[in-house]
């Protein structure tokens, strides 16, 4: 009866085999494959990033320049989104269907499991109306963020701005930044990013399948708190900063003021400027586009990026080097018959100065005097040694931070330009150039190019009788007063202190009765020097450098007003107002009758109409910024002065900083 008895083993065998298959599979997914643990955590843990408040930035007197304002970002986790009424959601947050699809696709591409920013920077009031409804849309939630706000609306280029980290930033940060994080893009915000950003915190929350919060993961064992970014005290004085911006409105140019005894930058005006508040909030994208399209390039940081020939403002430096080298003494006199005969070319002077000594030469900005000095200096080792002597001269100029980077604590600083001997070798041939060939360097023309910051720094050096402190923007971080040792180190320029007095005498005379006499401040001894950089497309660029008061100087300043005229007419008055405001906190009546409002209201913006393009364009900051080959007129001048008709190959001495538009804007 009990046939087929052996089949019990086959059946039992089948049972055992299949159960073993199940066990093998269980072994694989439970022990071998670790992904599932990760998935389970992703399912249940919602990591909320706690963003620390970004550090505020204050001016030197404790006035707030940048602080934070709370806003809400709408975040989305695509994986958790359930079907919903898209139209209703769109109208709720004020976007259209197309915009919704675009954002959602982007979020999904980023990650279906991680939260991405869906809509940025909703104001607190707007978010309040939205908050209750948001729970109807699983997968979406609001996240508190803060944005920058600028109560003063000033110092835009100095402070810089923040923006979302782009792919490069994320890569460079080794994964610290994530999509949607904010990062300093320019100015102090970029330079002090790691100090300002603080430390992010994270909160691990558990959620159920409907994304309802179910308490903290592991009782908060893996949570961290956010540590706010540190407060930065900048060296800026917002009083003169604002005054400077007003004085420079509707003009192209810069003001840089430095405290000589510390190297702290007091005023950092780049004009035209913009309201930094425009780069915050939902309209940011549009405003950024406008900013970059603006033909006057307000985003260009002129004080450290724009190059100008220093013109006559270079003369004090020229004199100092000659004094140090023993080429002249303060009493050395040259005769000025209204110019200087350099080979076949005559360098004009504005007046017939007659017998001119150092003080008079600076006061009257005598070209003939300085051309003679320079000629004597370069030929001091014999004409055959021109190249070597010139190289020594260049090194001395570089000592002043001219033609080299000053390493200011801000990105994108330009180095200016002092041509190397090689450049002339290439142009004229080795040993085929002499002092008179390059005579325009003597009066700050030629190929010389400096940033306004470098010009101001030279004044600091003169004010300090031979040394400068590295110019910097930040005075203190949190409670720390000395932020970098290098900021307290004196940088000597290799000129003996005794040689400064006669030069300073001359600079005082400039303001007392010389080219800048209209800007004399009653009761304050200001020492300055005007400069005029020639501009073939229009009016000359007006320069003025100064420091004040003469004894125990408190402020050194460089002002550049493009397309305005002589140094004495625009730059000097503007500098004098700033200096007086800083020293006295008020602006008194001037004997010359000038008053700030006149300068504030003047419009000196160059017309950008269809002018014929000049063959040799003057280096001005607009051209540099556009990155056009900045052929400089100074070459032309110098060529003429040298009396040579040699065609030069296009050789660009300076690479203008071009503020590139960031890819993710």
């Amino acid at each position: 009866m009990n046939s087929f008895f052996e089949r019990r083993y086959i059946i039992a065998g089948i049972f055992i085999t299949i159960v073993l298959v199940l066990l093998a599979r269980l072994f694989y997914i439970q022990i071998v494959d670790d992904r599932y643990l990760l998935y389970a955590e992703k399912n249940v843990i919602r990591k909320t990033i706690l963003y620390p408040a970004r550090g505020p930035i204050l001016d030197r007197n404790g006035k707030v320049l940048v602080q934070n304002e709370p806003v809400y970002d709408i975040m989305v986790v695509p994986k958790q989104v359930l079907p919903f009424d898209t139209a209703e959601f769109c109208s709720l947050i004020g976007i259209d269907k197309e915009g919704f699809d675009k954002r959602f696709t982007k979020a999904k591409k980023h990650s279906p499991y991680l939260a991405s920013i869906f809509e940025k920077q909703l104001s607190v009031e707007f978010y309040r109306t939205l908050q209750e409804r948001l729970s109807d849309f699983p997968g979406f939630f609001g996240q508190l963020r803060s944005v920058r706000t600028y109560p003063d609306s000033s110092a835009a280029q100095f402070l810089g701005f923040i923006g979302e980290a782009n792919d490069k930033d994320i890569k460079r940060s080794n994964g610290y930044y994530r999509l949607g994080d904010y990062v300093g893009i320019s100015g102090v915000e970029k330079a002090y990013e790691s100090t300002l950003r603080g430390q992010r915190g994270v909160q691990n929350q558990m959620v159920d399948s409907r994304n309802v919060a179910k308490g903290r993961y592991a009782n908060g064992a893996f949570d961290t708190v956010a540590v706010a970014g540190e407060r930065l005290i900048s060296s800026l004085d917002s009083r003169i900063q604002r005054l400077g911006e007003k004085l420079m409105q509707n003009k192209v140019g810069s003001i840089v003021a430095i405290e000589p005894s510390t190297g702290e930058i007091l005023c950092f005006v780049s004009s035209p400027t913009y309201d930094p508040n425009l780069l915050v909030g939902r309209q940011r994208g549009n405003n950024v586009a406008k900013l970059y399209k603006d033909p006057y390039k307000p985003s260009f940081i002129r004080p450290i990026g724009a190059y100008y020939p220093p013109g006559s403002s270079f003369k004090p430096l020229s004199a100092l080097i000659a004094l140090e080298k023993g080429i002249i003494t303060p009493q050395t006199t040259f005769f000025c018959n209204g110019g200087y005969q350099a080979g076949g070319h005559f360098v004009r002077c504005t007046h017939h100065h007659g017998n001119t000594n150092l003080t008079l030469a600076i006061a009257g900005s005598c070209n003939a005097y300085f051309d003679n000095v320079f000629n004597k200096l370069i030929n001091s080792n014999g004409a055959k040694q021109t190249s070597a002597t010139y190289t020594d001269w260049k090194a001395r100029v570089n000592q002043f931070g001219f033609g080299v980077k000053l390493d200011i604590d801000m990105p994108n600083e330009g180095r200016g330009y002092v041509p190397p001997a090689l450049r002339y070798d290439n142009t004229y041939g080795v040993n085929h150039w002499r002092a008179n060939t390059i005579i325009s360097l003597a009066i700050g023309q030629g190929e010389l190019l400096a940033t306004p910051l470098q010009l101001a720094n030279i004044e600091c050096t003169i004010a300090n009788h031979g040394y400068y402190y590295k110019p910097h923007l930040i005075k203190a971080i949190g409670d720390k007063n000395v932020i970098k040792d290098e900021f307290t180190k004196r940088n000597y320029v290799g000129i003996d202190a005794q040689y400064f007095e006669p030069v300073i005498d001359g600079m005082q005379s400039v303001v007392e009765y010389g080219t800048g006499h209209g800007s004399k401040i009653p009761g304050i001894v200001m020492c300055g020097k005007t400069g005029t950089a020639q501009n073939p497309h229009g009016k000359n660029h007006s320069l003025f450098v100064a420091f004040a008061p003469r004894d125990n100087p408190k402020i050194a300043i460089a002002v550049v007003v493009e397309n305005s005229g002589d140094g004495g007419t625009w730059a000097a008055p503007i500098a004098s107002f700033i200096v007086e405001k800083y020293l006295r906190d008020t602006i008194t009546r001037r004997s010359s009758g000038i008053y700030p409002e006149y300068y504030m209201n003047a419009n000196l913006l160059p017309s950008l109409g269809n002018k014929p393009k000049p063959k040799l364009a003057k280096p001005d900051s607009l051209k540099q910024q556009q990155g056009q080959p900045a052929t400089d007129t100074t070459k032309k001048i110098e060529l003429k002065s040298a009396g040579r008709k040699k065609t030069k190959k296009a050789n660009n001495p300076y690479i203008a900083y071009q503020s590139k538009r960031r890819e993710n804007e």
Partner: protein
């Protein structure tokens, strides 16, 4: 003489122990699956684990009653039991309550309801055992075979009308019973081949499959040319296979329902839709996979506690075990099942009466099928087929039906020497 015997005389206590262990595991895991802070008590009647407690107690009562009955009772009443359940299956089509797309439930009032298809399992087993143990019945005899097949197919037809595909498929497992009683092994091979061909036909180009099958048959024939019968069988098999291959796609796309097709596509990896049709299995795999070796601990499973896995107390109860008790827990549960199955086979084989033996194999087949299909489904080896895990899943009908199934066997077994004198 037999009337003075204790009802527990000769009862297989080992099986009862496994049974109790599995019921307890089920009860605790249902508690974990539906656990929330407000209902902490294990016997709170408003919750599923509270109700399960009642079901377990009532199952024990049913078990006791079965042990008190006379063993001959089951053999004698097999036909009326079968008829009654078939009537209930017809009744459920008329007055049944539709739950989850299946018209499988007869409401009993008080929130309780009956699922006749669960009871059809043991009555079919009983009738099959009764029929096959009859004199002059041989499974190799076509008439006997078709009668036996009819006994199995009839409830299947009624259940597929509900339409409860899972419960219908359970009856297929009775092929093991027929095999044990003498069905040609070709049937098992045939079924295994059909399943293989079905999966391959869906996964690959059918012309490659045709070529492969032809080549394989050709080789087998070539090396066995002398065996005429084998050659003939192979050629017939080849023709049938080819017809089957070409018929699969039309059948697959026209006969199966969209959701069934989608589940199969998902499991074969033809489609991947983790948010839609693949959500359950994916979440279930995450739950079990995240348990690792020792599990997350009782009531600590995040996948189950925060309801990422649907149907966690019924069809997907194994997720809770896998997540909270890890591979160790899964091993214990699967081990208990395997032990139970082998024990049931051992019990069946020690019977003197063919009826008891055949019934025993029925019990083993049905439990085996449930366990394998259910667990394979939760770990993504099988398409989603909604059948409960025996003794563990939440549900009164299912627990009672399995209790009856097992305890009738135990009663028969306790009486295995009863008629020898």
């Amino acid at each position: 003489m037999s009337s003075q015997r204790s009802p527990f005389f000769n009862v297989d206590w080992l099986t009862i122990l496994i049974y109790l262990a599995l019921c307890t595991i089920g009860w605790f895991n249902i508690h974990a699956a539906v656990y929330d802070e407000e209902h902490r008590s294990l016997v709170d009647l408003s919750t599923q684990y509270g109700k399960q407690f009642i079901y377990i107690l009532s199952s024990l009562l049913i078990a006791l009653i079965i042990l008190l009955l006379d063993a001959r009772f089951f053999s004698a009443l097999a036909p009326p039991f079968y008829v009654v359940t078939m009537l209930l299956l017809i009744l459920v089509l008329v007055i049944g309550r539709n739950v989850g797309g299946n018209q499988a439930w007869i409401p009993l009032g008080g929130g309780f309801r009956l699922q006749p298809s669960e009871f059809a399992k043991f009555t079919t087993c009983l009738l099959l055992a009764r029929y096959l143990s009859g004199t002059n019945i041989s499974i190799s005899d076509p008439q006997s075979f078709f009668t036996a097949a009819g006994i199995i197919l009839f409830p299947m037809i009624l259940i597929i009308l509900q339409p409860d595909a899972g419960s219908t498929l359970v009856f297929c497992s009775l092929i093991f019973v027929l095999y044990r009683e003498g069905l040609s092994p070709y049937f098992l091979i045939f079924i295994a081949l059909s399943i293989t061909l079905f999966v391959l036909a869906l996964l690959m180009n059918q012309w490659y499959l045709v070529g492969g099958v032809t080549l394989l048959t050709g080789l087998l024939v070539f090396f066995n040319l002398r065996n005429r019968k084998f050659v003939t069988n192979m050629v017939v098999g080849l023709v049938l296979s080819l017809v089957f291959i070409f018929a699969i796609k039309p059948i697959y796309y026209n006969v199966l329902k969209t959701h069934q097709r989608a589940r199969i596509d998902e499991i074969l990896g033809i489609t991947t839709d983790l948010k839609g049709i693949g959500y359950n299995v994916n979440q279930s795999k995450i739950a079990i996979g995240s348990g690792q070796l020792w599990g997350k601990g009782y009531l600590q499973g995040t996948q189950t506690k925060y309801s990422f896995v649907p149907e966690q107390s019924t069809d997907f109860i194994f997720c809770t075990i896998g997540e909270e008790w890890g591979f160790a827990g899964s091993l214990v549960v699967l081990g208990l099942y395997l032990f139970l199955l082998l024990r049931v086979i051992k019990i069946a084989e020690r019977q003197h009466m063919p009826f008891s033996r055949i019934y025993g194999y029925g019990v083993a087949s049905i439990i085996f099928f449930h366990v394998v299909i259910n667990i394979a489904m939760t770990i993504g080896l099988m398409p989603v087929i909604g059948i409960p895990l025996p003794f563990i899943s939440y549900g009164g009908s299912s627990l009672w039906s399995f209790t009856i199934l097992v305890f009738i066997l135990l009663k028969l077994d306790s009486n295995r020497t009863g008629y020898s004198y």
